[in-house]
Symmetry: C2
């Protein structure tokens, strides 16, 4: 068995849990993050911390200029982050983000000769993004096996999405069992410079409710707006 | 009909022909090139020239650091470009390149609300790359329709690969009919700084043979090594 895996690590709660699961399953984990023009660098600092704490073999940050295309409140400073729930696909959606991220993870997997990719997408508490659904993951796996030298010449490439059918509370329970330190993670769409969460964006709301439902202590450092 | 298209333009012969075909079919073409850590910038200069000559609406160059992963003679200066044909997938293959490029084209297409992507892959004279085959294109089209807001909410996204079943000679004949100026293109894997082709790499050999078979004048500027 080739036990190398490329694990997408954003610095958030979900991908920290995925990394812990991949390590628990015995994979040598190569953690990958992207500097994609997101508004803040706080999550990349958190990603490095998460990778180190989980015992990843290495952690790379690759630059890819998604902000060049605009269209998302996560990369475009002229668009406001919504502070209440919205119907449909929200403005925080980054066009084709998971497609781009998995494509780059696949490129690294080819050079590492790794046949396993891990991604923390979630179809339950997923903010309505189309590229977080099981059908997307299945389609990408099929593509990966047609697109690559390792897929064509060697064994199958597998895309692992171990959180895809879990609620946020179930994710938190699983990570807690595996010893994930969620204080090291940042999920907020608009954290302060020192990494405090706003407490009011979609991501904060889903995360906070997850800790409540899981009956776990929420270690998130919130800024002044948490009273909401 | 939404007649906007994102067209991948590398600066080479194939993508210049694709752009001419897309324009001929009436699409408003948004040309996209990548600064992906390739050894030379000559092809990006050629891409800008090709986009301008073809009347593209705009031309963007997006940075994506594929060289961070290594593994290809096109991005890794420690690996030599082969000057004779090789069996199997050659060292000039850039891991998952077309997957990454189409993923980024898809991201731009989403923000433009364009439903058409054009790529100059070719399964006949294709150097043995896995991501140049029809099955790869079909799998990417399926993925694109699952991965995106426009795919989910609106009509279908189409990936056009008009060269996929053409020989190099047929591509050259088609482009010539459409008025493509091939002197503006650079196909060589190791051109000189002023854009002269080496005449001996895989790409040069395939291109030169294409002009011979097409019975067309080869306008390529070769450097001193062309005597080979």
């Amino acid at each position: 068995m080739n036990d190398r895996a490329v694990v997408l690590v954003s610095g958030g709660l979900d991908s920290a849990t995925v990394l812990a699961i991949a390590r628990h399953e015995g994979y040598a984990c190569h953690a990958l993050s992207f500097d994609y023009g997101q508004r803040h660098g706080v999550e990349l600092v958190a990603a490095a911390r998460v990778a180190r704490l989980a015992g990843a073999v290495e952690h790379r940050v690759v630059k890819v200029d998604l902000a060049a295309f605009g269209g998302s409140a996560l990369t475009d400073v002229t668009l406001a982050i919504p502070e209440t729930s919205t119907d449909g696909i929200p403005i925080t959606y980054v066009p084709a983000r998971n497609t781009v991220f998995l494509a780059l993870a696949l490129a690294w997997a080819e050079t590492l000769e790794a046949r396993h990719l891990f991604i923390g997408v979630n179809a339950v508490d997923y903010s309505g993004y189309p590229d977080c659904r099981p059908a997307f993951i299945t389609a990408f796996e099929r593509l990966a096996n047609l697109a690559t030298k390792i897929g064509v010449e060697g064994g199958a490439i597998e895309i692992h999405a171990p959180l895809i059918n879990l609620t946020k509370a179930e994710i938190i329970r699983r990570g807690t069992e595996l010893g994930v330190d969620y204080a090291a993670t940042v999920s907020c769409y608009q954290p302060s410079r020192n990494g405090e969460a706003c407490g009011s964006c979609d991501s904060c709301r889903i995360r906070r409710a997850g800790f409540q439902v899981a009956g776990a202590v929420d270690p998130t450092r919130y800024c002044c707006r948490t009273g909401q």
